[in-house]
Symmetry: C2
């Protein structure tokens, strides 16, 4: 028997829907989550792909995150829509809210979607890409759990606070980045710990505040660090403010306190901004786009990569040939249907 | 004779207005620029204080930047105002546009001010602070000249692209950061070059793309680097897109090309976003503010500084006692009145 299983993207999506539905998720939530799981697997972001079904099902079975709550949409202003996710994962709230966000952005040129009371699921790039595919420029951010020390400090205050940006490029994959404002992802430190490997200096400090290469010391009583020193720390604080208190939601400190040591996924708000290029500018959209493209060419022309380029290459492969899963993972996922 | 001169903030402002007016600037521009020069001196940002009068007068006398052009305000949408600075410095355009921006932000909850065709003058913190003082959350950014290599590259593509953020804290100085997305400011590298000092590794590369500690090698044929590796590089690219092509204005590549080797100040657009906390959130503004304050306390409570803290301490001193200028600088400035 082969060590791997080959699936089409359609099969990945159907499998995800079956597993999530079987484990008590409403069809609307299952469809929304299956879409991002399929996208993650397609782009070879393995921790956000089919593997995620294991984690998600575990979380659903614990009953902490709602698998059925319906998002409640509030039209706040001509440029703001808020969606209360009612303590479900954020994907369905985003899909429902992003339709209103896109309409508002087309009418007023700039608009905001505030998602409240949602559980963090995976990356933010699916959200900014979905908006970029509609020709909108998008910026998304969210706090997480307070695991990260501020610059000049040594105790947790900030989350890993990702920031994602999408710029539409008609006829091409959009310009997209999605990065944690922590020096490394929490999961990466966890992976090093499990495999007994040292982490690079700069990822975290121990309980005494000293730089350490020991992942256990960071996770147990120490703190992660932000990327880019005091600038990264300031940026992370901005994410806390905009996607936390501004929209009436929790900071990473609050989210970790709410978790009360259970080790659950962060509960937080999310802020997504959308800009319609047609509403800005001086009337020369073609020229504006061309100037953006010239910058991208100056970057790639010197051998540097654009962010997400690897992901888009993987996507092209997956769309053409489907995806390959380890048989062990596939079997584990099928077991979730029992 | 004392080596220094003591001036009140009122005297600094009056001196700046006199010098700028004497050198052909309209009263409206002179007042707007005098305000930021006074603010820079007050906060002990010496390169943005009275010293700036020397540079500004030199630029005015060369005739490249208009000292009299009146900003043209265009109401683009319920949430967007654009101001054409008509190739003057950005300060007056900001002052005129920010009034409309604030009104729009109060009505729609989020609004954008796009300034086009302006010359860069100084820092962005005066703009986000002015909005924060009105209770608005503000984000500002601008491209510059293409001096900075993208992550993975070694040739200039990006500007030093500052990003500034302000969060109002009623009864306290706002939370404010304002940083270049380059590892160091261009001026800092220039200062090292003039004083024959090495720069730290990580600030730039030489013409062959190799890391260097020689400031001349960076400035002549080499390139500066962004802060924070590929994340800082991505963030800098976002600044290019949002405050460049999105608003119909130049990228840093375009701005440097327009300068055509003259060594002039960057000509660009600027994007300022304003958020009204009263329009977001779930109706508990006091609670939201308290959560933000808890984060700030968790930062300062462990001995870490908030960004701008040094500036606010200097401000308190200057407001109480006035500012101290080197007599040589004061004499040089007075000479501009001849």
């Amino acid at each position: 028997m082969s060590e791997t299983v080959q699936l089409s993207l359609h099969e990945v999506h159907a499998l995800a829907v079956r597993v999530l539905s079987h484990n008590g998720m409403s069809d609307a939530h299952a469809q929304a989550i299956a879409r991002v799981i399929t996208a993650g697997q397609r782009d070879e972001c393995h921790s956000h792909g089919v593997y995620r079904l294991l984690v998600t099902t575990h979380t659903l079975r614990k009953g902490k995150v709602s698998g059925t709550a319906e998002p409640i949409v509030s039209d706040r202003s001509p440029a703001i829509v808020a969606v209360d996710a009612q303590f479900a994962f954020s994907q369905l709230a985003f899909e429902v809210g992003s339709k209103v966000l896109a309409e508002k952005a087309r009418r007023t040129g700039i608009a905001a979607l505030a998602i409240n009371n949602c559980y963090h699921f995976s990356a933010l790039w699916p959200e900014v890409e979905m908006l970029a595919e509609q020709g909108l420029v998008a910026l998304a951010m969210t706090p997480s759990h307070a695991w990260v020390a501020p610059a000049g400090g040594s105790r947790p205050a900030l989350g890993t606070n990702p920031l994602a940006f999408g710029w539409p490029r008609p006829g091409k994959s959009p310009y997209v980045f999605d990065f944690a404002t922590s020096a490394a992802a929490r999961g990466e430190i966890e992976l090093h710990r499990r495999s007994g490997k040292e982490i690079p200096l700069g990822w975290g400090v121990d309980a005494t505040g000293s730089p350490t290469t020991d992942p256990s010391a960071v996770v147990n009583g120490g703190a992660m660090l932000t990327f880019g020193g005091h600038k990264g720390s300031a940026l992370s604080t901005m994410v806390e403010m905009l996607a936390g208190p501004l929209i009436g939601d929790l900071t990473s400190i609050d989210s970790l306190a709410l978790d009360a040591g259970e080790g659950g996924t962060p509960c937080h708000g999310e802020l997504i901004l959308a800009f319609d290029p047609a509403a800005f500018g001086l009337g020369d959209l073609q020229g504006d786009r061309a100037r953006a493209e010239r910058l991208f060419e100056t970057i790639t022309g010197q051998g540097a990569r654009l962010p997400s380029q690897r992901r888009f290459e993987a996507r092209a492969r997956s769309v053409a040939h489907g995806v390959t899963l380890p048989r062990a993972l596939y079997s584990e996922v099928l077991a979730l249907l029992r």
